[in-house]
């Protein structure tokens, strides 16, 4: 059997000094294989960062076993870990004058000698890493002049330059805008698929994780960690259970999350299609659920998609008004019936 890059079994993680230890989670087991992109999900305080710091060897664990490439984690020193595993952290780095190239080049430190002198081969690897992250045009820019997304990519390039089989990232998409998040995750997805590195990242971006990750690790407060492919987890209703009490509904068919609004009133509607979907969303925010029924007496909505003003509001078959704008229509209707 092939040895997983990273593996842990019945792990208990926590932090604290000798006298006071705070256990954050226990009974964690999972493995990370070549070419896999794994997203670690969980609410705040469930121990995502602690697990990541533990796997990086930054802090000790209290029970169980952890292995990197079959070697016991607690027996590896900094030097050996630096060849096996590279990290991208949330730590804010401020180095005066540091350029993109300089920072990525620090990724080569495990391979350089006493004075940290880079060889031609080292420089080639550094440039390749920068190119892979699409930053070659910013090569000589100083770090402080970059956007948050670019800066995150610089650190990913640093991890690539370190040339380790495993890359671990702690919330690489936090503080980024939507397009940078997608870009960063796409970059990681590509690296995992192309280079065969195993990538583990923690994130709060559930829908992106569901689309990009090969497997998910779900950390629940107190409970054991649930692992599996996004599709299997959806199939087993894991997400629905997880978010049951939070006003969020996980739609199994779309694999997306939906915010659940309290419904105070129902309103019959005639017609369907895209206009219906839009109306349903708009009315949901007002606490009105629009429903398909057989009988239409009292107030009801009729959608005539072919007409210029598709949204019609009826009272006992009498047309009260028709509108083109969903917003105006929703406001008018809700002022009448609420």
């Amino acid at each position: 059997m092939k040895i997983p890059y990273l593996e842990f079994d019945d792990l208990t993680i926590g932090y604290g000094s000798k006298s006071k230890v705070k256990i954050v989670a226990s009974g964690l087991s999972a493995s990370l294989n070549a070419g896999e992109l794994i997203c670690l999900l969980g609410s705040n305080g469930t121990g995502k960062s602690t697990l990541i710091r533990t796997l990086c060897g930054f802090q000790k664990f209290y029970h169980g076993q952890a292995y990197i490439e079959g070697k016991k984690l607690e027996l590896l020193d900094e030097k050996s870990i630096s060849f096996l595993l590279s990290v991208v952290l949330t730590d804010r780095v401020h180095i005066p004058n540091a350029t993109v190239k300089e920072l990525v080049a620090y990724g080569r430190s495990p391979y350089t000698g006493l004075l940290g002198k880079l060889t031609k081969a080292d420089m080639d690897i550094v440039e390749l890493a920068i190119t892979q992250c699409g930053l070659m045009h910013k090569c000589n820019d100083v770090l402080s002049g970059l956007s948050d997304g670019e800066r995150q990519k610089v650190f990913i390039a640093k991890a690539l330059a370190q040339d380790t089989p495993i890359v671990i990232l702690d919330e690489p998409t936090a503080f980024l805008d939507l397009s940078s998040r997608v870009e960063v995750l796409q970059l990681l997805r590509e690296i995992a698929s192309r280079s065969g590195k195993a990538i583990l990242l923690s994130t709060h971006d559930l829908d992106l994780a569901l689309q990009m990750a090969d497997r998910l690790w779900l950390l629940k407060a107190g409970g054991p960690m649930i692992t599996g492919s996004p599709e299997d987890l959806i199939y087993n209703n894991v997400f629905q259970e997880m978010f049951q009490k939070q006003g969020v509904v996980f739609d199994n068919r779309t694999g997306l999350f939906r915010v659940e609004y309290p419904c105070r009133k129902e309103l019959p509607v005639k017609g369907h299609g895209f206009e219906y979907v839009l109306l349903r969303r708009s009315f949901a925010r007002k606490g009105i659920k629009i429903v398909h029924t057989e009988t239409f007496d009292g107030f009801y909505i009729h959608i005539e998609a072919t007409a210029g003003y598709p949204f019609c509001f009826f009272d006992n078959n009498r047309l009260l008004f028709r509108e083109q704008s969903v917003e105006i229509f929703t406001n008018k209707v809700s002022s009448i019936i609420v």
Binding site: K79, S82, V87, V93
Partner: protein
């Protein structure tokens, strides 16, 4: 970056080295007694004819020049290492109270010596010197350890700086208490020492001082890789294979040693240890510590020599205390750093 030495060809560093030599010579030539340049060269070559001039150059100016060069390099490199270690651009031997710790150590031996050994420390020759250095080193290390402990618990560069100032006050008042119980002669000696001067060592002691400070400053090049990594933060450094504890200890020891050595013989020289690394960073435009340390050495030597020259400008009888000059170099740098940080904070938000 391909080759660490490539930059030596660059214009700026050549300029700085040239300036260092120029200012070194100027320190030998300029002074209250004007000695022509060819004569100075002759004296240096051992062929001086005018006895008074020879005495002035060899007994006063040359040792002072050597001490200033060494002290500037040592303080600058110590300051650079502290700035990286504490990740605080305002760190330095004097701003963090390290010099104060050294002073306290020195005060202890200088002011207590007469009670313990019935003589002044300055009459004890080599052993007296050694004792002063050891006391100064112990004081510096103690404060460095204390500051490091607090900075890791508290964080925030300004609060650590305030802590350094407080430690300075504390050690000053301890020294005040010591003075109260000491002999007037010793107190006088100590006060003179505390004003700071590069001109207190005779040539036969200035040479080893210069040799040790300059060589240790350049030996710090071997710490450039750990410094590069520590600048990234503890976790990144560890992930890149650095043994944090060992590197940190080495850096503290060397920075403490450099500060202590200078403080023991020149008194607490304020500000330039913090200001010089900023000039080096400004000039070199790199985060690479190999280059930063080299630049700091050259700029440090040049800055201290410039201050030394300014302290005994022609027209001034005798010389000004060196600290009143270095403050003019250092204080503007502190202000500009805080000003720059304000802008960066605004940009971050």
């Amino acid at each position: 970056m391909n080759t660490n030495f490539k930059f030596l060809n660059t214009f700026i560093i050549q300029g700085i080295i040239a300036f260092l030599f120029l200012i070194f010579l100027l320190n030998l030539i300029l002074g209250s007694v004007s000695i022509p340049f060819p004569e100075v060269l002759k004296i240096l070559a051992g062929k001086g004819t005018n006895v008074i001039w020879t005495n002035i150059v060899l007994r006063t100016r040359l040792p002072q020049t050597i001490v200033a060069t060494g002290a500037g390099m040592a303080l600058g490199v110590a300051g650079l290492m502290m700035q990286t270690l504490f990740r605080n651009s305002l760190a330095g031997p004097s701003t963090l109270g390290i010099s104060s710790g050294s002073s306290l150590g020195v005060a202890l031996v200088v002011l207590i010596a007469r009670k313990a050994w019935l003589t002044t420390i300055y009459r004890m020759g080599f052993w007296g010197d050694t004792l002063v250095v050891v006391a100064s080193f112990t004081g510096a290390l103690f404060v460095l350890g204390l500051i490091l402990y607090f900075s890791r618990k508290i964080g925030g560069s300004l609060s650590v700086l305030i802590m350094g100032v407080m430690i300075g006050y504390l050690s000053n008042s301890l020294v005040g208490i010591l003075k109260y119980y000491s002999f007037e002669k010793d107190v006088h000696n100590y006060v003179l020492w505390g004003l700071g001067s590069f001109g207190r060592l005779p040539l036969e002691r200035a040479l080893p001082f210069g040799f040790i400070t300059i060589s240790v400053s350049f030996l710090c090049l071997f710490l450039s890789k750990p410094l590069d990594l520590i600048a990234l933060g503890e976790n990144y450094a560890r992930n890149l294979g650095l043994n944090i504890q060992r590197s940190r200890n080495a850096i503290i020891l060397v920075a403490g040693l450099l500060t202590a050595f200078v403080t023991a013989f020149c008194g607490p020289v304020v500000f330039i240890g913090m200001a010089i690394p900023h000039l080096a960073k400004l000039v070199s435009g790199t985060s690479n510590h190999f280059r930063l340390i080299l630049n700091t050495c050259f700029i440090g030597g040049a800055t201290a020599l410039l201050c030394n020259l300014a302290a005994r400008l022609p027209g001034i009888e005798g010389e000004l205390p060196i600290n009143s000059i270095t403050a003019f170099v250092g204080a503007p740098v502190v202000i500009s750093v805080i000003w720059k940080r304000r802008k960066e904070n605004l940009m971050d938000r």
